[in-house]
């Protein structure tokens, strides 16, 4: 029986972090696990940073992952992963989409976007294990860049740590999407799963 498993998902408004949270939560519920989660909606989602949490296990109570207790940090955008790095535990894994989303404030000269190499190196230095790849590219391969969230869901499962079966996740996806969209989303999931599993083996 799972006692406590904590996931933090970080991204930019519009990337589908909330749908990812919902699919995880529904699948965990089907598997009979106790589930808690949280997300931020409203003003912040208009192109701003978005983060959500999903927690499963018999010893969880609150909706938020306590700082320093995250088992997996999923970053749909690299700097957004970094923004949430303090949630990872000492043994936590970061699963990162390396494709940056540049905020509009950068061309306006109000802020700077760092070199992606620096971001990845810092993530690697500060967490025990990092699985990083271009998930947006894989999403395009699956059919549309919109399904980057499902690539990352697959990658989360590919770490081998997620206490929820792929079969259950796919069942929820099939119920959520139309037939054609389900096919594309599941393809995205499988692509993410494979890449992540291979990278996890290497780590």
């Amino acid at each position: 029986m799972v006692r406590e498993f904590n996931i933090v998902i970080a991204g930019v408004g519009g990337q589908g972090t909330i749908l990812m949270t919902e699919i995880l939560g529904k699948a965990a519920t089907i598997e009979g696990l106790k589930v808690r989660g949280s997300e931020i909606l409203g003003m912040a989602v208009r192109g701003g940073p978005v983060s959500s949490t999903i927690r499963v296990g018999s010893e969880i109570h609150g909706p938020l992952v306590p700082e320093g207790k995250g088992d997996v940090l999923v970053g749909l955008e690299p700097t957004e992963a970094l923004r949430n790095i303090t949630y990872l535990s000492k043994n936590g894994i970061a699963v990162i989409n390396t494709r940056p989303i540049i905020p509009y404030t950068v061309p306006l000269g109000l802020t700077k976007y760092p070199h992606i190499k620096n971001v990845l190196e810092t993530l690697k230095r500060k967490s025990r294990s990092v699985i990083a790849f271009d998930a947006t590219k894989l999403a395009k391969e699956a059919g549309t860049p919109v399904v980057v969230n499902m690539v990352m869901l697959g990658a989360l499962s590919g770490t081998g740590k997620l206490p929820i079966k792929n079969k259950t996740l796919k069942k929820v996806m099939k119920a959520h999407f139309s037939k054609e969209m389900a096919r594309i989303n599941i393809k995205a999931f499988d692509l993410g799963f494979e890449v992540s599993r291979n990278l996890a083996k290497r780590n």
């Binding site: 192109g47 303090t86 810092t122």
Partner: protein, 636 residues
């Protein structure tokens, strides 16, 4: 997507959003009428009820504002039906006037008011602990600690409201409304009541004699409730023998407290009082706890509401005990397991489970690598184009005054125009305050004053200050940014949209007709994407002697795109012609659509983000932007 929860079977386990759970709780509690005005984090409660309304035969409406929503619910309660009004914390301020008298009256049909307090102001203009409002109105408050309780207690609240003859408040925080969890569903009632109105002025007509008669009755009812809460299942006391420390955990704080005590290895070593009725608090249980420990920590979100009551009890009962609360639990920000862990470690001298300072150090170290990412108006948003025209027109007219134009702003997506480069939100206070504040400014400064307010906000609270401007000769220009929906909270219909909460076609009110009816003599309608036309209209409005009003009307781009997808139409994006582009940067410096990107020195358009509105092509001085697939130089 929200699910139709009317179809959930008793005993079924489902994964729900807190607001969905509250809505299901209302269904299980026999609600027959529900009314609300959208506001984060409360919106999905009414949306879920609207979806279930047909199946269950409920009446559900988006009201024009929270005061009206409460009055709709009150009207139903007076007739003996169970009713609910749900709103965000600041919405309770709007409803406050009627809420105070409702407290005097009590109820016939169970009446529940949901106050969703947005702690940390994730999507609000302030933070507010509405338990103080409830106290002032003598309303009992239920504060659930998780999503299951949010459902169960909402259902119970209707029963309790009738039993104790009082309006009940369900106080939630963002992390309950927008929390998710597995929930076991209960039964839905089979019978519906039939509402009857019986005249009873001594109850319902609050002339001073009625108020004086009802006040002692209200106080009496409250005393009964204060006794009863000690035995209600929402509160529970676990006394541990020999425990030196007692914790009083209120609402969601109970969840954080359970995790913190476990993390510190203190579970089973401290006495714990869970408080689910934070007003009135279970005094007998509090006294028992206070008499059994040496120190107490009160954990609650936002203000020291329960803490003050606990201190009062300790004083009155002459119990010598140190009551901690906001000295250790921060007044600022949301609560978390970490904050409670730190407070408990401080009191018990227990070793912290992890080195939090290391995490703070890590945050500090990584901060320089993280770009600021403020929320922005969406690509293709008509508001951005509207503000471009408004600003251009206002600047040209302001030259005559020799001062900068002033833009009192309001609440909605368009509040985001506060950011560069638009910078057209000079004040933001509360719903409708753009026009109200503009009235005051007009009598003090000589400058072009442009109050910018959204369509839904205009109908919510913009009309009385508009009438005030006409009545008191305030020379202001009101801009109604009409995108035909309540966009910020997720596209809820409103009086100007032509549809009700349940999708029924209705009379479509137009802001320009309202303004004319209010006596505004300059009223025109502009198209945000016709910048030349729009600039001309705003210039004339600003020159007009007396209050003027301009409606900028364009459907919200997100809705427009959704409809296009349904029709099978494709979005054709614009592109930058690299040969014609002189890298002047006008598009970014004055407009800053997130779809326009800069790679090194070159400008480009992200074809994934571009919605094909074409406004950037209109403002490019070198005609370097055109539709993809069009010949170079061809005018769009």
């Amino acid at each position: 997507m929200l699910r139709d929860l009317a179809k959930g079977l008793p005993g079924e386990r489902v994964f729900l959003l807190g607001n969905e759970a509250i809505a299901r709780g209302a269904m299980e509690g026999g609600v027959q009428i529900a009314a609300a005005y959208p506001g984060t984090p409360s919106t999905e409660i009414l949306e879920t009820l609207a979806q279930a309304s047909k199946h269950l035969g409920l009446y559900v409406e988006w009201s024009t504002n929270e005061k009206v929503a409460l009055e709709v619910a009150l009207g139903a309660s007076i007739c003996g039906l169970r009713a609910m009004a749900s709103m965000k914390h600041v919405g309770v301020n709007v409803a406050h006037d009627s809420l105070m008298t409702a407290g005097y009256m009590g109820v016939k049909g169970g009446l529940v008011v949901v106050s969703a307090d947005d702690v940390r102001a994730w999507s609000s203009q302030n933070e507010q602990d509405n338990r103080f409002t409830a106290k002032q109105a003598y309303l009992p408050v239920l504060e659930p600690s998780n999503v299951q309780e949010a459902k169960d207690w909402t259902a119970d609240a209707f029963e309790l409201s009738e039993k104790f003859n009082q309006v009940f408040m369900l106080r939630t925080v963002t992390r309950i409304n927008h929390a998710r969890g597995d929930v076991t569903l209960g039964k839905l009632p089979k019978k519906h009541r039939k509402g009857v109105f019986r005249k009873d002025p001594s109850w319902l007509t609050h002339v001073p004699t009625t108020a004086r008669k009802n006040r002692p009755l209200m106080i009496q009812r409250f005393k009964k409730i204060s006794q009863a809460v000690n035995r209600l299942p929402y509160n529970s006391l676990e006394l541990v023998d020999e425990a030196k420390l007692g914790v009083i955990a209120c609402g969601l704080s109970y969840a954080y407290t359970l995790e913190a005590t476990k993390w510190l290895g203190l579970d089973g070593k401290v006495s714990l009082l869970k408080v689910g009725t934070t007003h009135p608090i279970p005094e007998d249980l509090v006294k028992r706890l206070l008499s059994s420990v040496e120190e107490v920590l009160v954990v609650e979100e936002l203000e020291p509401f329960v803490e003050l009551h606990v201190k009062a009890i300790a004083g009155e009962e002459n119990i010598k005990i140190k009551v901690h609360g906001k000295d250790l639990i921060p007044l600022i920000g949301e609560l978390s397991t970490r904050k409670v862990t730190e407070a408990l470690a401080e009191l018990t001298k227990a070793k912290l489970p992890i080195d939090f300072s290391r995490l703070d150090q890590l945050r500090k170290e990584t901060a320089p690598l993280i770009p600021s990412r403020p929320p922005a108006l969406c690509p293709g948003c008509p508001h951005r184009a509207s503000f471009y025209a408004i600003k251009t027109a206002a600047k040209s007219v302001a030259k005559n005054y020799g001062v900068e134009p002033i833009y009192p702003g309001d609440i909605g997506c368009y509040s985001l125009a506060v950011a560069p480069p638009l910078e057209t939100v000079d004040t933001l206070i509360s719903m409708g305050a753009s026009i109200g504040v503009a009235n005051g400014l007009a009598h003090v400064v000589r400058a072009p004053i442009l109050a910018c307010i959204g369509d839904s906000t205009f109908f919510h609270a913009g009309i009385p200050p508009l009438i005030n401007a006409v009545y008191n000769h305030a020379k202001i220009t009101v801009i109604v940014l009409d995108n035909l929906t309540t966009a910020m909270t997720g596209f809820q219909p409103h009086p100007g949209s032509g549809f009700t909460a349940t999708g029924v076609k209705t009379t479509q009110l137009k802001a320009e007709n309202v303004a004319k009816g209010c006596g505004v003599r300059f009223v025109e309608v502009a198209d945000p994407f016709d910048s030349r036309g729009a600039i001309d209209i705003v210039q004339r409005a600003l020159m007009f002697e007396g209050p003027s009003l301009v409606v900028f009307r364009r459907k919200c781009t997100l809705m427009e795109l959704q409809e296009k997808r349904k029709r099978g139409e494709k979005v054709v994006p614009y592109i930058v012609d690299a040969e014609k582009c002189k890298q002047c940067g006008v598009c970014i410096k004055t407009f800053a659509c997130p779809a326009i990107i800069k790679k090194d020195k070159n400008y480009a358009i992200d074809d994934l983000l571009c919605t094909g509105c074409g406004f950037c092509a209109e403002i490019c001085p070198y005609e370097a932007i055109h539709l993809r697939g069009k010949e170079h130089g061809e005018r769009i």
